[in-house]
């Protein structure tokens, strides 16, 4: 009986956020989202494994070496997608914050919780692989270049977001505060993107995402794109798994408090 009461509380909470049809509205039902995410996860995981295998084969073996950097250029296939994913993760946080503040979609907050540590990990990976690449090619692990500095700021923004989420006793308040911080920190994203154009520093400008043809050989572009796809799938799998965990954790919390209420 008391379990039913917990379910009823959850159903009430979702019913108010579910006034009409539409894909996003229907996803506001946690059970429905859990089912969809549970169905998607193994497919995406399989795609990530396949893309990683192909990307690493082409990247480490079946692609030409650079005429200047020799085999060191292969670090690019790990480094560049990590940096793209770092930016994408923060965009996810900012969009989730916007959706939470404007439409109060219940999944937006869960997505923010789930994406932040994953994004911090990708940012860290981009910084570390960049240092490993910089040592043989630039002759130094680290320079205070505009691109490097702005990505370091991005890493601290992720840490601040995670810390702010854990700083409140009321989950509602933590979600709103983190959403606003996510939006404020988004000013850093264009700074990272255009840092290599605005400041003439050591990091090279974009060679793939520019107008016209990419300034990169197709034989190198192929492994890069395969690895980018693999990273994307990995990111989505990690975020979906973490979202399901978070939803389950909240459900357990709700059931436990309902149970405590029933015992009283």
């Amino acid at each position: 009986m008391r379990w039913n009461r917990g379910e009823a509380i959850l159903a009430d909470a979702t019913a108010t956020a579910n006034p009409s049809g539409g894909f996003w509205h229907r996803l506001a039902n946690p059970a429905r989202f859990q089912r969809l995410a549970g169905w998607l996860t193994p497919w995406l995981a399989a795609a990530a494994v396949g893309l990683f295998a192909a990307g690493l084969y082409f990247g480490l073996y079946a692609s030409p070496i650079d005429y200047q950097q020799k085999d060191n250029v292969r670090i690019m296939y790990v480094h560049v997608p990590a940096a793209w994913l770092a930016m994408m993760s923060y965009s996810t946080l900012a969009i989730a914050g916007f959706v939470l503040l404007v439409w109060r979609h219940p999944l937006a907050d869960v997505a923010g919780v789930a994406a932040a540590p994953v994004g911090a990990a990708f940012t860290f990976l981009a910084l570390v692989t960049g240092a490993i690449w910089g040592q043989p090619t630039w002759g130094t692990w680290w320079v205070w270049d505009a691109r490097l500095t702005s990505v370091l700021i991005l890493f601290f923004l992720f840490l601040g977001y995670i810390a702010l989420r854990n700083a409140f006793d009321e989950p509602e308040r933590a979600a709103k505060a983190a959403a606003i911080l996510g939006l404020v920190g988004a000013v850093n994203l264009p700074i990272i993107k255009f840092s290599v154009d605005w400041w003439n520093t050591l990091h090279q400008p974009a060679s793939v995402t520019r107008l016209g043809t990419p300034a990169i050989d197709p034989a190198m572009l192929r492994p890069l794109m395969l690895m980018a796809g693999a990273y994307m799938c990995l990111f989505t799998v990690l975020v979906l798994v973490r979202m399901r965990l978070e939803l389950t954790r909240r459900r357990i919390d709700a059931l436990q408090s309902a149970r405590a209420g029933a015992i009283e």
Partner: protein
């Protein structure tokens, strides 16, 4: 605009009646800067090379020191809720509180800066630019800090978190501010750096009171 001046006058009156407490940030700024020659050694060449950056970093840290009291005290005694339900828009009230904060920390620091420049052996060519940069960039520090302070109203361990949230957002101001002084000392034109610093402050003026007011509204829900 009546609400703006009422809040500004109130915050300044509170600071005046608290006596020296409001000037703690400036004292921290001066004391902290004085520690560096004792730590790195009194070599005038070395001090001149790092003076601009040191003064700016100390200004950042001193700004942070006074910021976590910006909304916390008013939130605790309920004054903030009264301000929120007053007919004046909360954004305007936040702007007034930021201006009061700047008048009590940023402005005294800009006034004290030439003294610090003298103690750290900064070449006199950079003095005017240093004061100009602190005057231009100071409001941005108060405004960006106000957003973080508003987000942290009611948080556990607010003071420590303040550092983690605000310092990354302060980095552009630091780069342009210290860059302007370096350029002036090196005999270059500092106006590009000062223009970027002014742009940072203008952008902060346009966005920060609005974001801080939104954060405060959520804090009082």
């Amino acid at each position: 605009m009546n609400g703006f001046f009422a809040v500004l006058g109130r915050d300044l009156a509170i600071a005046r009646r608290e006596g020296g407490e409001a000037l703690l940030a400036v004292i921290f700024f001066i004391l902290g800067t004085v520690l560096f020659p004792l730590g790195v050694g009194p070599d005038p060449q070395l001090l001149a090379a790092v003076a601009a950056g040191l003064i700016w970093v100390m200004a950042l840290l001193a700004t942070l020191l006074a910021l976590d009291r910006l909304f916390q005290a008013d939130w605790r005694d309920g004054a903030l809720e009264l301000m929120a339900i007053s007919p004046e828009s909360l954004t305007v009230i936040v702007a007034a509180k930021c201006l009061a904060h700047w008048l009590l920390t940023g402005l005294p620091m800009a006034v004290a800066a030439p003294l610090m420049a003298l103690l750290l052996n900064l070449p006199p060519d950079g003095w005017l630019t240093l004061v100009a940069a602190l005057l231009l960039g100071g409001p941005a520090l108060s405004l960006i800090g106000a957003v973080c302070a508003a987000l942290l109203v009611g948080a556990r361990r607010g003071g420590v978190l303040m550092t983690l949230l605000a310092l990354p957002l302060y980095i552009p101001t630091l780069i342009f501010g210290a860059g302007a002084v370096e350029a002036a000392v090196g005999g270059f034109d500092a106006s590009a750096h000062l223009a970027l610093l002014g742009a940072t402050t203008l952008a902060a003026m346009a966005l920060c009171p609005w974001a801080a007011a939104a954060a405060l509204r959520h804090a009082m829900e």
